[in-house]
Amino acid sequence: MEKLQLLQGVAAPLPRANIDTDIITPAKRLLDANRETMHEHTFEPLRFLADGSENPDFILNKPGYRDAVILITGRNFGCGSSRETAVWGLLGLGIRCVIAESFGDIFFNNCFQNSVLPIRLPAETIAELLAEAGDDQGNMQFQVDVASRTLTTPSGRSITFDLTADRQTALLEGLDEVGQTLKEDAATTAFQAQDRTARPWIYDLGTVD
């Protein structure tokens, strides 16, 4: 996994609640899913008009916000389907950090699998950040420092955010969960040996035929 240590750039304000993963990645785009091209369809119902052209009113189509690295958005972002393509798409657009009052649980987890940092902040703070990000056509620079768990706004305000130590380490060092868990394989073997005597029916499945 790619490391995420220090992020600096424009933050795009998208003040809308309950943006579900069907909006971030419409279902028909899942079929061809690949990490590299998914961003072409990200936010499709909002980002493009019926004729396929860009919707000039959508924030990521506006000058100054096209290269945003942070998205500031409404509560319950990423609710709905478990599709990880939603995160791939954001990543492909260059978004490495999403800031919202709350997130769908599965999306929140999927972010950390892809070196994207979701930050939860109180509603009042989100409102202030949205205002700041909306100023000056998006030329304002935000900064996210994973090591110090600090978000710095263009006005110089410093906001500390929550991030568990294991996730912080994984982001800073680009650690991959599969590799880490494989080191614990002996513990899994021991668990299964003991569990097999307690719950043999879990391991001795028949066949359907």
Partner: protein
């Protein structure tokens, strides 16, 4: 802390392989369901990394999302069926994972097939790369949907890293009114609590209403847990659960069965167990529901009127309502009943089991689908389809003018190409009325199977209680 623990605590604790600190545990995965949308890719990624599937015998794979529901279908009948379904077969078989292809008598939607084969068991920890995995909690399993990176993790390690969520109990007491079913109960709950109320929580459903429900109805309840943000929904296993499971092909047999039941009887929240949040509902207050907006929480009693944006205090809710009404082509203040529809879809992991089809058939029998409506019935699995045909439900539906189709996710998610056309209005027994869910610009109204059947006949959204059974369907 007292000695009293919740069902959730017991399920969680039984699966801890190792604590990883900070409320984070490595948990053993007892059951892993794999489908066509992400399965082949995950198995390919594993192979590319030079890793093997650790416990293929604890997995089960089948195509459901991408396959056509057309009668006589093959993988070639849908745009991506061969690539995704065929790809999954190749990869699953190579890994030694049991696979149910289109020709197999156990093919179907993963969340229908898991329980009906006995693959899903009380007390098991079950995951799948699909957010409606919460369905399996109806049997007393600890079950939730995971992302595709986590699917690879489970394949490689047979474990999942998970933070312990908070606990929430939703108690529903009393008898359900005439024409009210499980779908109405859970839509009502989501409407009352809001679509993010369950975020970060594992939910247990309890109370006399739940206890009186059959297992399939309980699955409908648990299935929609994710629609108010809860990854896991569960119901303590009881005699109804054991009777449902006994004799299913993958359920334990003989002495192992007796031992398992003894273990399962302990899987309940102790008296005095404390939950982080508790909510109570009265069954008598719940009327047949139908959604009017683009979020499952935008629901109302079929006798009600569509809200106006002005009826909300919060600016955000006013705005959400306005946007949803525009997308849905509705005006605030109108009765929802009488809204003309174009399509009906009865199916999905929410409502495609035999009891769902029976309820729809009871309404359909002796009546005809309105001439301007296209109505589909898509059984959840080959087993459901065969059982329904054995009791003549297919003939009731066909005689009424419904299409009787082949098992899969079909028009719920429309990844098989079976979309609702732009601007068309569909009453659907599925789980999401999101913008574009059933196709670009498609307008979805969620409801239960009986309400959907009634809408097909009336040609508009209507109260199922004015459709008394005319025939002898069960």
């Amino acid at each position: 802390m007292s000695g009293a623990t919740t069902l959730f605590d017991k399920l969680w604790q039984a699966h801890v392989v190792r604590s990883l600190g900070e409320n984070l545990d490595l948990l053993h995965v007892d059951r892993h369901l794999i489908h066509d949308l992400s399965g082949a890719r995950a198995l390919t990624e594993l192979q590319e990394r030079g890793l093997a599937v650790r416990n293929p015998e604890l997995c089960m794979a089948m195509p459901d999302h991408s396959v056509s529901s057309q009668p006589g279908r093959t993988l070639a009948s849908s745009p991506f069926g061969e690539r995704l379904g065929g790809g999954l077969r190749k990869m699953a078989e190579a890994a030694g994972i049991p696979f149910f292809g289109l020709e197999h008598p156990n093919q179907g939607i993963v969340h229908v097939v898991g329980p009906e084969t006995g693959f899903t068991l009380p007390g098991s920890l079950l995951v799948c790369g699909d957010s409606h995995t919460s369905t399996h909690g109806a049997l007393g399993a600890l079950a939730w949907g995971i992302g595709s990176s986590e699917v690879v993790h489970v394949l490689a390690t047979q474990t999942v890293r998970q933070r312990r969520p908070q606990s929430m109990r939703i108690t529903i007491n009393g008898e359900l009114g005439e024409g009210v079913e499980a779908k109405d109960v859970i839509l009502h709950i989501i409407g009352q609590l809001g679509v993010a109320a369950g975020t970060g929580h594992a939910v247990e459903y309890a109370g006399t209403t739940i206890a009186a429900l059959g297992i399939e109805a309980r699955m409908t309840i648990c299935n929609l847990s994710i629609e108010f943000g809860a990854r896991m929904g569960m119901i303590a296993p009881d005699q109804t659960t054991f009777e449902y499971l006994q004799g299913r092909p993958l359920a334990p047999k003989g002495a192992a069965w007796d031992r398992a039941v003894e273990y399962w009887r302990g899987l309940r929240s102790d008296d005095g167990a404390v939950f982080d949040r508790e909510v109570t509902f009265a069954a008598a207050e719940i009327a047949p529901q139908v959604t009017w907006g683009t979020s499952p929480g935008q629901t109302l009693a079929v006798t009600g009127s569509i809200p106006t944006p002005d009826s909300f205090v919060e600016a955000e809710q006013r705005n959400n309502t306005e946007v949803a009404l525009e997308y849905m082509g509705l005006s605030g203040g109108q009765s929802i009943a009488g809204t003309r529809i174009d399509r009906v879809f009865i199916g999905s992991c929410t409502n495609s089991r035999l009891s769902d089809l029976r309820r729809a058939a009871r309404v359909a029998q002796g009546r005809n689908v309105a001439s301007h409506v296209t109505a589909w019935v898509v059984p959840g699995s080959v087993q459901v389809k065969q059982a329904a045909e054995a009791e003549g439900l297919d003939e009731i539906f066909l005689a009424a003018g419904f299409e009787w189709r082949e098992p899969g996710c079909a028009q719920c998610v429309a990844t098989n190409g079976e979309t609702v056309a732009p601007g068309e209005r569909c009453v659907s027994t599925s789980n999401r009325n999101f913008v574009g869910r059933q196709g670009p610009k498609a307008r979805t109204h969620l409801a239960g199977p009986a309400m959907a059947a009634a809408a097909a006949i009336a040609g508009e959204i209507t109260d199922v209680r004015s459709f008394p059974p005319l025939g002898e369907a069960q």
